[in-house]
């Protein structure tokens, strides 16, 4: 396996696909573009990619991306998968993430952001592979964030966060007690979201923490302003 990573883009819109491919190629990745799920799966038989960017709506298959994600996740637990889609509904995002995608991005984000996300995911994979002991850890009471592995733990129990969620938690926990408004959180997560998306992100994050600790109350809402991390 060569050093250059293979990034596969499964996107039925040729123009967007080619743009992404061009950008990724410029970044030094090897790229492969596919218009449909079938096409992608066929190609992955011979050459399994290192990262996959999937659109949910693939030609005739309205939810082809979800299915592809499920197939790929079945084959590899480590393969980073990013959903990049025009569908921005809460439901779609939750569905995508539940299927094991590492990130869920809308097509609004710039190529810069996309490339940053791709790089971050690769870094996490590497970190996991290297099993680096002196990982960049951030500890805030019961919370432990590993910036290299992009992993999060609460009271020793892992909390599965997406990239966006990870960075939101990171941004809050970095300076406990300090108010973070929505824009700051969006910047931290390197994403463009509307206010309600931030709200639902927070809601999801809380839900995930509450799943491992019913008494979780570290994220405080300050209405009209933003959120802050309560250290105690």
């Amino acid at each position: 396996m060569s050093d250059t990573k293979l990034v596969a883009v499964v996107e039925d819109e040729a123009a967007i696909r080619d743009n992404y491919l061009a950008a990724l190629r410029r970044q030094g990745y090897r790229v492969a573009g596919f218009a449909s799920r079938r096409e992608a799966l066929a190609a992955f038989e011979t050459r399994f990619p290192d990262l996959v960017i999937i659109d949910i709506n693939l030609g005739n298959e309205v939810e082809g991306g979800f299915e592809l994600c499920r197939d790929l996740r079945a084959r590899s637990r480590q393969l980073p998968i990013i959903f990049l889609t025009a569908r921005d509904s809460e439901l779609d995002a939750v569905s995508g993430l539940r299927l094991g995608a590492d990130d869920y991005l809308t097509k609004q984000i710039s190529i810069e952001h996309l490339l940053a996300r791709v790089a971050t995911l690769f870094r996490r994979v590497e970190a996991l592979a290297n099993d680096d002991a002196d990982a960049e850890l951030l500890s805030r009471g019961p919370l432990t964030l590993d910036r290299d592995r992009m992993s999060c733990a609460w009271r020793g129990q892992p909390v599965a966060l997406t990239l966006t969620e990870f960075w939101v938690v990171h941004a809050l926990a970095q300076r406990p007690g300090h108010l973070r408004n929505r824009e700051q959180l969006m910047q931290a997560a390197s994403t463009v979201m509307d206010d309600s998306s931030v709200t639902s992100q927070i809601k999801r994050i809380r839900a995930k923490f509450l799943a491992v600790d019913p008494d979780f109350a570290a994220i405080e809402t300050v209405y009209g302003m933003g959120y802050r991390w309560r250290s105690s």
Binding site: I16, N19, R26, S89, K107, D194, S196, V222, Y223
Partner: protein, 686 residues
């Protein structure tokens, strides 16, 4: 005219039932009348038939063998209730002046029968009574003559020399000189009266034979200078001819007729001239009750059944003589009937007359009368019941129709109300018309209105989801543009294109903002349907937000005024915060820099009222109603380049509605700005 009024009017048609009842009663009465007439006539005919064969009938003077007589010649002897004393005074006669008949110009006579005797009373006014002073004293004084009829003329004369008991002697025309033979069976008394004299006499009927003829006469002697003048007057006219028949009521006929007696019926038998030979039975006494005394239905019935029966005009004149037309007709061999009214209450009487015809022609007639009050009673009962039933039927029909109309108009009104309120204030459509299961036309109407509303709701839903779909569909081509731009910017050769690329970038950014706004609205719509409700303190959220806006919008003043205490409502604090964001964003973008934006939150009766005011330009009055609709913006064109899609206030309305509240925008009373008012109902204390 409401449906109910219309159907009530239709119900009035059932009043035709009482009318039909009235017609029925009238018809029935007519039939009953005819039936009564016929049965009465049949009875009369039967009686006449059996009477014709009876000898007693003939004995009473019904014979026609002596040829025609004028009724004036006939001497009718009235039945006397008791035997008068022969004393010259008529005080013990049960007859009145009316029973008397003329004898000459001034004198009158009365004739009566009691048992086997004929009584005659003659009253003669005479200024100068002439007595026969001596047996040869011509011309024998004032005399009373009796003609006993029969094959040989038998004249008797009564004269006297002084008042007292007098005797009848045989005599003869034309001198009527008293003969020598006395008729001892005749008893007579002569008295002087104030006007003249009177003679009362009694003679046995046996003197007269089986077909009696009898007449009375008078020789009036008047002294004149040098002698006397005598005038002759008879009860039958020509003194030279036979006297008229003696007609009387015989006990034999009474016995024969008594078998026909029936209560409520009056039977009269007359001879061929119309003289009453028998009068038995009586009509039921005519009701003397006045209108007020009678029952309502009886009065109504009398009104309904009032017929133009002629009042009775056939009184006996003279007494004992009948000239009723039906009787006249019967005497001319033609049975007939007649209705007439009698009495104070004009009750109807039916009379039937049938001829009594023997071998010798018509000998008399039977007149049978019956009061028809029995019909009235019968029809009264029928009418009362019929009217009762038909009125009841009418009432039931009217009540039924009224009830049905009420039901129908209620259904239609419910449908109308439902149709009127199907379109909610925010364009939301509630189908579900009432009464769709009904199989009638109203049900059809409800179903078709419901279908229409469903289709409309579908269309509205489509329009509502359009922006979500549109956002999604636009995002892909926009992504094509922006990713292409990203790529171009990395091309070193594109330096000189930078200004154009910048413009494209700006355009794409605006498009992006629009799409974001649209998808945000969709997201909120979704959030509104998904959000769990929790109780939270509205005051705290507003206070917190107000605080935050001071930091965010540094070029505006914020005046926050909130009632003390907590104001808990059920809903989502996050959504309320978003609503405040939108309202504040709106207020900030309209108001001039440095101006004050006011927040007030009070409890007013049953709701918490939040008001956010700004000094921005006034709202056009016409747009107020649509202000909170999707894709409506009243911002002046041109501006800061931010999105102007009119979704902000739509989101506000969505969130307020989610909390069961209301929102409105109005120009401030001082015309200095605009105020948004949102009311949230105070939840019941938990």
């Amino acid at each position: 005219m409401s449906l109910r009024a219309q159907l009530l009017a239709v119900a009035l048609l059932t009043l035709v039932l009482p009318w039909a009842g009235w017609r029925y009663v009238v018809e029935m009465e007519g039939v009953l009348r005819v039936g009564l007439e016929q049965s009465l006539l049949a009875s009369a005919t039967t009686m006449a038939g059996s009477l014709a064969a009876l000898p007693p009938f003939l004995a009473s003077g019904g014979s026609s063998s002596n040829g025609p007589d004028s009724r004036h010649e006939t001497l009718y002897a009235y039945p006397l209730t008791s035997a008068p004393r022969i004393d010259g005074y008529p005080t013990d006669w049960n007859l009145s002046d009316a029973h008397g008949r003329a004898l000459g110009p001034r004198a009158r006579y009365w004739a009566g029968v009691h048992e086997r005797h004929l009584y005659v009373h003659i009253d003669v006014p005479d200024d100068a009574i002439v007595y026969q002073r001596a047996p040869t004293d011509a011309p024998y004084g004032d005399r009373v003559l009796l003609n006993l009829g029969g094959p040989a003329e038998r004249w008797l004369v009564i004269n006297t020399a002084a008042p007292g008991v007098v005797f009848a002697r045989a005599t003869s025309a034309p001198q009527f000189a008293p003969g020598t033979r006395f008729e001892e069976r005749i008893l007579a008394a002569w008295v002087e009266t104030a006007q003249g004299y009177a003679v009362e006499l009694r003679l046995p009927l046996d003197l007269l034979g089986p077909e009696p003829r009898f007449g009375v006469g008078l020789v009036q002697v008047t002294p004149v200078p040098g002698g006397y003048e005598a005038e002759l007057h008879t009860s039958w006219g020509d003194a030279g001819s036979a006297p008229g028949r003696l007609v009387r009521r015989t006990p034999e006929l009474a016995a024969a007729a008594a078998q026909f007696a029936a209560p409520g019926r009056r039977l009269r038998i007359v001879d061929r001239q119309g003289w009453v030979l028998y009068d038995g039975g009586s009509l039921a006494p005519a009701g003397s009750a006045t209108v007020a005394q009678r029952g309502f239905f009886e009065n109504l019935l009398r009104l309904i059944l009032s017929r133009d029966d002629a009042p009775y005009d056939g009184f006996e004149n003279p007494p004992g003589y009948l000239a009723d037309p039906e009787l006249r007709s019967a005497l001319a061999r033609e049975s007939s009937t007649r209705w007439y009214r009698r009495g104070a209450d004009a009750s109807a009487v039916v009379a039937a007359a049938a001829p009594v015809a023997g071998s010798g022609g018509v000998q008399g007639a039977v007149l049978l009368e019956l009061g028809s009050d029995s019909i009235l009673t019968l029809t009264n009962e029928a009418l009362v019941r019929l009217l009762g039933f038909t009125l009841l039927a009418s009432l039931i029909a009217a009540a039924g129709l009224l009830g049905y109309a009420t039901l129908l108009s209620l259904r239609i009104r419910r449908l109308a109300t439902a149709a009127g309120s199907a379109l909610g204030p925010r364009g939301d459509i509630r189908a579900g018309m009432p009464g769709q299961r009904a199989r009638d036309e109203v049900g059809t109407l409800a179903r078709s209105v419901n279908d229409m509303l469903k289709r409309l709701a579908g269309y509205t839903e489509y329009l509502r989801s359009l922006k979500g779909k549109l956002a999604h569909e636009l995002r892909t081509p926009l992504a094509v543009v922006s990713t292409s731009l990203d790529n171009i910017e990395r091309e070193p050769s594109a330096e000189h294109l930078a200004p154009y690329l910048q413009r494209i970038r700006e355009g794409a950014a605006r498009l992006d903002a629009l799409i974001n706004a649209m998808s945000e609205a969709t997201a909120i719509e979704q959030a509104v349907t998904d959000s769990p409700r929790q109780r939270f303190d509205l005051a705290k959220v507003v206070r917190s937000c107000g605080q935050a806006y001071r930091d965010v919008y540094t070029d505006r003043q914020f005046a926050v005024e909130i009632d003390a205490g907590s104001m808990h409502i059920d809903g989502s604090a996050d959504l309320i915060a978003q609503m405040l964001d939108k309202l504040t964003d709106n207020a900030v973008s309209f108001s001039p820099a440095g101006s004050t934006i006011t927040f007030t939150l009070h409890r007013e009766r049953d709701e918490f009222v939040l008001r956010i005011g700004n000094d921005g330009p006034l709202l056009p009055e016409a747009m107020r109603a649509q202000l909170f609709d999707s894709l409506v913006s009243v911002r002046p064109a041109g501006g800061d380049g931010r999105r102007h899609l009119g979704l902000g206030l739509y989101i506000v309305a969505l969130i307020v509605r989610f909390h069961g509240g209301r929102v409105d925008a109005a120009n401030r009373a001082d015309r200095g700005g605009v105020e948004f008012e949102a009311g949230f109902p105070v939840p019941p204390a938990s």
